[in-house]
Amino acid sequence: MADTLRSETWPIGRRAIASWEITSVMVSCLVAEWTVTALSGGSKVLMAIPVGFALALMLVSHVSYGETLKDLGFRLDNFLPACRLLLLPTVVVIAGILLTGWFLRGGMPAVSLLRPRLTLVPLWALFQQYALQGYLNRRAQIALGPGWTSVALVGILFSLVHFPNLFLCFLTLLGGLIWAFAYQRQPNLFALAISHTVASISIAVAIPLPYINGLRVGFKYFG
């Protein structure tokens, strides 16, 4: 953890503020996923508004805490240790996904399933890891302290935004726990994004679409 998060200059209500921040950002995500999608028919412009609110809060919060990009995990000095930490759990999870896909599909997926849009997954994964670890995990550590409670909270929050897609909820809970655990030891968002990308592509390619409902989450799950 960065020293900025251990600063004793913060007022008494620091844990409460961090909890409030977590709640506020989660509310924005859920408003975008559920309310905007339901009421606007999925307008991307309208969906960007609560996401923009959340990003603005995150930015102000980083400045408030005096956090630098390096503090957040945009760094290369611990890239290899972070990769080493993530290698085994990522390989195990991907093997599990491929085996599950093999079982459900009755064979290996066709290469044609590697759609062009999957090329955007690394950027999306980096953004998600920034929000999940660079922000929520750090605030969870302030609210609950480093360790399993904050790791569990991050996993649950990541799973919650994938509701009601139960298959994804399970996988993201697992992924969220692994990545949050790894981040608390080696905060490197690039390594986490690689792990996230490989896992996401494995799910998209290996698991038949009906089981993951086209990776739809929130209100869009029903559409």
């Binding site: 600063s7 921040e21 309208l46 408030s64």
Partner: protein
């Protein structure tokens, strides 16, 4: 620390307020586009024809024909476009032309009391919504299959 914690709290309060206003505006916008208060209609039991007959107008698009659905006892019976001649509707000022009437033949029903509802179908963006025209129309079917009912008020 470049921004004091008090400012962060102010930002969070401001965000909560803006988000609340945004969701409220979204809900009002949804209400206005999905359920516009521009549909008017009338329905009654036509005992001689054994039908539910009436008219439907969208005052926002007075030249368009409204698609209507008949639901009896909460079961969908039929869908049609209200385009039958109703000169009385135009004469009363509800529409610009007379082609806004509908008539649904009633299906075979058990003896007893029933309820018919006529809905205007409205498309906004990629969703369809249904608006009840007037009030539900109660009617009865006797042992010989004869239908009796009462008219409802227009809206």
């Amino acid at each position: 620390m470049k921004i004091p914690p008090a400012r962060l709290i102010q930002v969070m309060i401001g965000k909560a307020l803006l988000e609340t206003i945004f969701v409220a505006a979204l809900a009002l916008g949804f209400r206005a586009t999905a359920f516009p208060p521009t549909f008017h209609g009338w329905g009654e039991i036509d005992t001689s024809q054994r039908a539910v007959a009436g008219w439907a107008v969208d005052s926002a698009n007075p030249w368009s024909r409204v698609e209507v659905q008949l639901v009896v006892d909460d079961q969908l019976v039929a869908t049609q476009v209200a385009s039958l001649s109703r000169p009385d509707v135009a004469k009363a000022g509800w529409s610009r032309d007379e082609w806004h009437g509908y008539a649904f033949k009633l299906p075979s029903l058990k003896q007893g009391t029933h309820e018919a509802k006529v809905f205007a179908i409205h498309q906004s963006a990629d969703r369809y919504t249904m608006q009840l025209l007037g009030a539900p129309v109660p009617f009865s079917v006797n042992g010989d299959g004869v239908v009796t009912g009462s008219p409802v008020r227009s809206r």
